[in-house]
Symmetry: C2
Subunit: 172 residues, 2 copies
């Protein structure tokens, strides 16, 4: 399992590998999606109903500080929470569709090139880098074009507000 590296890194720093942390680590690592704290909490509760939301936040903070996960905001589609992913993968940009919310990952040489240039130019020691690109995916470009022309024929009141994300009540 790919979390082994992370577990070693924690051990070296004298950080205890508790049951709760095992659960969270495995979830972050196994998950294909980018998880936010709340989603991670919901998943973790399935493994251990007593696991507390606070523990999720504390664990994420720990991993973030140790440079073991990256924190993203994905252009705040869906709220102001942060998303996390393990640091194992090759450097990549996140490409977020502002209409459907789909997130693609882009790997490519401009990213390495950028990092190198920043290091050379400023004598900077790059620890982490994050690139997020918002726009419209090819599918939504077509839909938007249609919506626009329809809107011209309809009363303009039908602009739909993106609903604020609700979360289960804390006591739930």
């Amino acid at each position: 399992m790919a979390t082994e590296g992370i577990k070693d890194s924690l051990k070296e720093r004298g950080i205890r590998l508790t049951r709760q942390r095992q659960i969270l680590l495995d979830l972050i690592d196994k998950s294909g999606e980018h998880l936010d704290a709340e989603r991670l909490y919901q998943l973790a509760r399935q493994a251990d109903p007593k696991l507390n939301r606070v523990t999720v936040y504390r664990t994420l903070k720990l991993l973030k500080q140790g440079g073991l996960v990256d924190e993203l905001d994905l252009m705040h589609m869906g709220g102001d929470q942060h998303y996390y992913e393990t640091r194992m993968k090759q450097e990549h940009a996140h490409v977020i569709c502002l209409r459907c919310g789909k997130v693609e990952e882009f790997f490519g040489e401009p990213l390495q090139r950028l990092r190198r240039q920043v290091e050379d130019h400023f004598g900077f020691n790059v620890i982490l880098a994050r690139t997020e690109i918002g726009g419209y995916c090819s599918h939504c470009q077509r839909l938007r074009a249609r919506e626009m022309s329809e809107a011209a024929h309809l009363p303009p009141e039908e602009v739909i507000e993106k609903p604020r994300r609700k979360r289960a009540a804390h006591k739930g």
Copy 2:
């Protein structure tokens, strides 16, 4: 003044250019630094003590939605608030020192190249892009090296927590 473009853009959309918005627009544009909502509010109050924090948030949201300002988080140095800058400049990356917090801007061809590649690769229509790079500036690299070797000779309890940002009480 460089806000003219913004003001035109607002007018075209039938958005009123109120006294409050003028103040905020001018502050965002004139300021060299990256302002967050709270700082912008403090500055705005100097021009108009009655101007409300809520108006700041509403104006920022408006400008953001209109694509007139970019929202950054600068790797969350100093809290979870967002920072804003006008959209006039050429595309650039923000390079943030994780020790001293200084923010540099980097312009360079990898950014344009990245944008083009994402458009080609996914058939994506890029609206906004954000690159933030965290690490250590050359100055802090030296300081850190010294701190490390000193730490080896000292009791390790002296790790300084970054203080949580306090803001003036709302009634203030």
